[in-house]
């Protein structure tokens, strides 16, 4: 019997140039749903993006028709599953422009990827007196793993400060990035401020003192074309669910020479070469870091998300998102009492703000009642909140499928907030 794949019901491989918004939005059924009786206006894409049919169908088709474990069985389904899983890894490699497929490790997400680098790369290498350099705009997931390493090794954490406009203050970089720096970990794009950080510039300085560079790319991959060569990142982490893919899957890119030299972090099936009770030899990368049955359907969904992303006309996506950002920035300035936080020159389509004398949670609730989904909290970046002197902010984060009309709805919603709390 020959098995044939049914994947690819929703063809997205070829699109005309430009951005057909009607077509694009039709690929996301959730965008036609209602919340509290109002049409959903989804502006919480930095928390998690919505998923196009192509992604959900790839996952569902695998689970319904092709499900088997990978790297295990001799039977046809298992071989197909293994091939599909490997194809997904190849999709991610192509997407990032990595040299070799073994440089892509599937993880549960960005957090797991950063913890893997912290525990497997940094912890065995760092000593008291060594320094880890972070930035003032990091998400907790790019702070806490390094604190754990610092506590275990005696290394010290230092921080690149953030300016009032939400850019990294590189004026004093030489004071914090020194011969003692072993590792620099920074966000490619800030989840709060939307700032695109000058990763290349910092990476060059880091490499000059012999430090390696770990980049949290979770907020970059849905918005900008990532080119690893151009960035100079030694490690690059991201999550599937913020790039139109499934939850529970993400990836870590690592330079081959670095990954090869790293010991496993978690032990189990799939990551071994040979096991006796005396000794185990480990599988080569990336399998060495993928103990246990991986999230197979999710990896296949991530592969589909990457294919979907690559099917878009990126010049058109970037132009559209730049327009949304400029339009939202301009219109927010019309609402009395709204203060925009994060006005970096290089920004993705994310706007964080506070409303004078109204707590972010109350803003969030009043917007929610109008069908508008935003994030209202400390955004897992409490040090940054403290710097800007606020307990929290409201964040509207746009994706390629958002429209100017949705920005208008947000502004109407904020005027309603002003009315309720007049």
């Amino acid at each position: 019997m020959t098995l044939s794949s049914t994947r690819g019901r929703t063809a997205v491989e070829s699109r005309p140039a430009g951005l057909d918004m009607t077509q694009l939005r039709s690929e996301f059924p959730i965008l036609r749903t209602r919340v509290h009786g109002k049409p959903l206006i989804y502006l919480d894409n930095a928390a998690t993006s919505q998923k196009p049919r192509a992604v959900v169908e790839a996952e569902a088709d695998f689970s319904l028709l092709e499900n088997a474990n990978v790297h295990r069985g001799v039977h046809a389904l298992s071989q197909m599953a293994t091939a599909a899983y490997d194809r997904a890894r190849e999709e991610v490699r192509t997407f990032l422009g990595a040299n070799h497929v073994s440089e892509i490790v599937f993880t549960a997400g960005t957090t797991a990827a950063l913890n893997l680098v912290a525990q497997s790369y940094a912890r065995p290498r760092l000593r008291a007196g060594d320094e880890i350099l972070l930035t003032g705009m990091e998400h907790h997931s790019n702070i806490v793993p390094w604190q754990l390493v610092a506590q275990a090794t005696g290394a010290r954490i230092r921080v690149i400060p953030v300016t009032g406009s939400g850019e990294l203050d590189l004026a004093g970089l030489n004071e914090v990035l020194t011969e003692r720096t072993r590792l620099v970990a920074l966000a490619h794009v800030s989840n709060v401020l939307g700032t695109v950080n000058p990763v290349r510039q910092i990476a060059d300085r880091a490499h000059a003192v012999g430090a390696i560079v770990v980049v949290d790319g979770a907020q970059a991959v849905p918005h900008i074309r990532v080119d690893l060569e151009a960035l100079g990142a030694d490690f690059y982490a991201a999550s599937g669910h913020k790039m139109f893919g499934p939850t529970g899957i993400g990836f870590l890119y690592g330079r081959a020479a670095l990954l090869d030299a790293m010991p496993p972090w978690q032990g189990g099936g799939g990551m071994i070469q040979n096991v006796t009770f005396e000794e185990t030899t480990y599988a080569p990368v990336p399998a060495r870091f993928e103990a246990g049955t991986p999230p197979i359907a999710q990896a296949i969904g991530l592969g589909a998300a990457v294919r979907w992303l690559r099917s878009l006309d990126w010049s058109a996506v970037e132009a559209h998102e730049a327009d949304l950002l400029a339009y939202a920035t301009e219109r927010l300035a019309e609402v009395p009492g709204v203060r925009l936080i994060g006005t970096a020159r290089e920004k993705v389509s994310v706007v964080s703000f506070v409303v004078d004398r109204v707590h972010p949670h109350d803003v969030g609730t009043v917007l929610d009642l109008q069908g508008i989904a935003v994030r209202a909290s400390h955004h897992c970046a409490q040090p940054l909140m403290r710097q800007f002197g606020v307990a929290g902010m409201v964040r509207a984060s746009f994706a390629a499928y958002n429209t100017r009309a949705e920005v208008d709805a947000l502004i109407e919603g904020l005027l309603e907030v002003r009315k309720v709390f007049a």
Binding site: G37, V358, H359, H361, V366, A391, V420, F421
Partner: protein, 145 residues
Amino acid sequence: MPDASELYQSVILDHNRAPRNYRPMEGADRQAEGYNPMCGDQLTVWLKLDGDRIADVSFQGSGCAISKASASLMTTAVKGKTREEAQKVFESFHRMVTGQGGPADDMPAKLAVFAGVREFPTRVKCATLSWHALKSALETPDPAK
């Protein structure tokens, strides 16, 4: 479908704008912190006890309209009550905001403005933050005394 005015009743908006008993207390017998790690809301509740009775109560902190107004109304509702009476009020209030019962007879009527919270499960913690702090202050003896 709930609307904003059901949650943000005018009494709540008033207490949010001008919270009552909003001050640190000199010579307090008890104090406790309330902290919601989800949103970063934080407040301190101070108590002065006269035997078993709450002679004075105040609070200060930062939070949303619901948590601030709830703390403010709580102070006005429990001042002069015994420890046990205050506990009973909290239980009734908790049942009401979690949708397990209507405003109870033993609950001061003004607290009924929070009945709308039951439609907003994510805001229950905001409405009960100060009450949990009060409970903890009542249950924790002051080591200095």
